[in-house]
Symmetry: C2
Subunit: 210 residues, 2 copies
DNA sequence: CAATTTATAGCACCGAATGCCAAAATGGAA
DNA sequence: TTCCATTTTGGCATTCGGTGCTATAAATTG
C-alpha cells in the first residue's frame, strides 16, 4: 500500500497540512458505480469517471490503483475481520462450524448497504474483467482460511488439506453471493449459512434436494 | 469462436486453398511458453513472441485472442471430455463419486506432457494476470459441473445447491493442481483423487490430519 | 512573506488489443 | 499462361488501462 495516511484507517487525524484533497474514495466509488450501473463497466472509461468526479485521469489513479479496484470497495477490512473471528474462536468448536459462523458473521450488512452491495456483486460476477480480477482478491481470502485450517489440523497452509478446504469454502461463499445477487432474496447470510452447511455434509444428495 | 477451419477440430480436411499459414498454434505456444519460462510472463511482450515465431504482432493475435490464452492451450477439449464423462456415468453411482472419477479421468496425462503442463499450471497459479484470467476459464468448467449436479438433484444449474457443489469442486481441483505443480510429486491424479475424497467427507478433521 | 507540505494536472510513454485495408501466396478454372 | 477466388499475412491507426516524471496549485506554519 503506497496510499497516504488520509486514505488509510489508522494513524492520528494529523491536522490537515498542504492542499486539501479534491474528492474522496467514497466519492469516486459512487460516481464510478453509478456510471457502471447505467452504461456498463466496459463502456465506462477512466476518463469519464474522472470527469464525473471533477478530477484529472491521473488523480483517479491516486485514489484507486485500477479501474477494477473501485468495485471492491473496502474488501481489505472485511478480510481482517474474518481473520480475527477465526483466530478468536474456541478450539472446542468443530472447524467447519467455526468457519461457517465466521464467514456468516463477516457478511452481515445493514439494509442500507445491501443495494450497493448487490450492484457490486452483480458486476463482480458478470463482467469478465471483474470475474477475472476477483480471483486475485479471493486468493487473499483463501490465504486467511488456509492459515486457519493449517493451524487446526497441523501442517503448512500450502498443503493439500488446507488448500482444498480453503478453496472449497471460497466456492461455497461465492455461490451464496452470486445466488443472492441474482435472485430477489434479501437473506444473504442465510444463503451463506446454507451453502456452508451443504459443504460440511459432503454434499449429501438428499440434503441437496431438500 | 471466430477461428478458421484450420484451427478447429471439425469439418472436412478441405484441400488447402489460399496462402498457407506461416505457423501453427502449437508453434506459437511453444515459443511463448519458452519465453515465459525463461524471462517471465509479464516481462515477455507479444512483439517478442511474434518475433520468436517469425510472424507479425498482428498475426499472433490471429492464432490466440490474447497473450494469456496461450497458457491455456487446448483447455476447451478437456471441458468437452469432462462433460461426456459426467453424462455417460451410471445414475446408480453416488454423485460425488461420479464427479471425482470424471475429474480424475480428464486429468490423466502422459509422462511427456507433464513437464509442459507443470509450466502452464505454475504460471496460471502464480502470475497475477493469469490467476485472474483463470477465473474466466474455470467458470466454464463450473458450468459443466453445475449442469451435471442440477440434472442429478433437480432444479436449475443456477440454484444454490448446484452452484455450491460446482464451485467447491473447482476449488478442490485447483488445490490439487497447484499442490502438484509446486511440489515434486509426479502423481497428479492421486492429488485430485485425495482432494475430492476430502470434499466428499465434508472435511472430516481426522481424515484431514491423516 | 517565505518555507514546507500535500494534492493535483498534464505530459510522455508503454503494452495489450481491435478494426481496417492492402499485399502476398496459393489452387483452380478459362 | 492468365485471371480469379480464397486465405493468410503485415502494417497502420486507434483505443484504453496503467505508470513515471515534473511542474504547479493550495494549504499550514513560522
Amino acid at each position: 500500500m503506497t496510499r497516504t495516511a488520509r486514505h488509510g484507517a489508522d494513524g492520528p487525524p494529523a491536522v490537515a497540512r498542504g492542499r486539501r484533497p479534491a474528492t474522496s474514495r467514497e466519492n469516486v466509488a459512487r460516481a464510478a458505480l453509478d456510471l457502471f450501473n447505467r452504461q456498463g463497466y466496459d463502456e465506462t472509461t477512466v476518463d469519464e469517471i474522472a470527469a464525473a468526479v471533477g478530477v484529472s485521469r491521473r488523480t483517479f489513479f491516486r485514489y484507486y490503483d485500477s479501474k477494477r479496484e473501485v468495485v471492491w470497495g473496502e474488501f481489505d477490512a472485511e478480510l481482517v475481520r474474518l481473520e480475527e473471528k477465526l483466530a478468536s474462536a474456541s478450539t472446542d468448536e468443530p472447524m467447519m462450524d467455526v468457519l461457517r459462523r465466521a464467514v456468516v458473521a463477516t457478511n452481515r450488512f445493514g439494509a442500507g448497504e445491501l443495494d450497493e452491495l448487490r450492484i457490486r456483486m452483480g458486476l463482480i460476477s458478470s463482467v469478465p474483467t471483474l470475474v477475472a480480477h476477483s480471483a486475485v482478491r479471493y486468493a487473499e481470502w483463501c490465504d486467511v482460511v488456509a492459515g486457519f485450517v493449517a493451524g487446526r489440523i497441523g501442517g503448512a497452509p500450502d498443503d493439500l488439506g488446507p488448500q482444498t478446504v480453503a478453496r472449497a469454502a471460497l466456492g461455497a461463499a461465492m455461490a451464496a453471493f452470486t445466488c443472492w445477487a441474482r435472485y430477489d432474496t434479501d437473506d444473504l447470510t442465510g444463503e451463506v449459512d446454507r451453502a456452508f452447511r451443504l459443504l460440511a455434509t459432503g454434499f449429501d444428495e438428499d440434503r441437496l434436494r431438500g
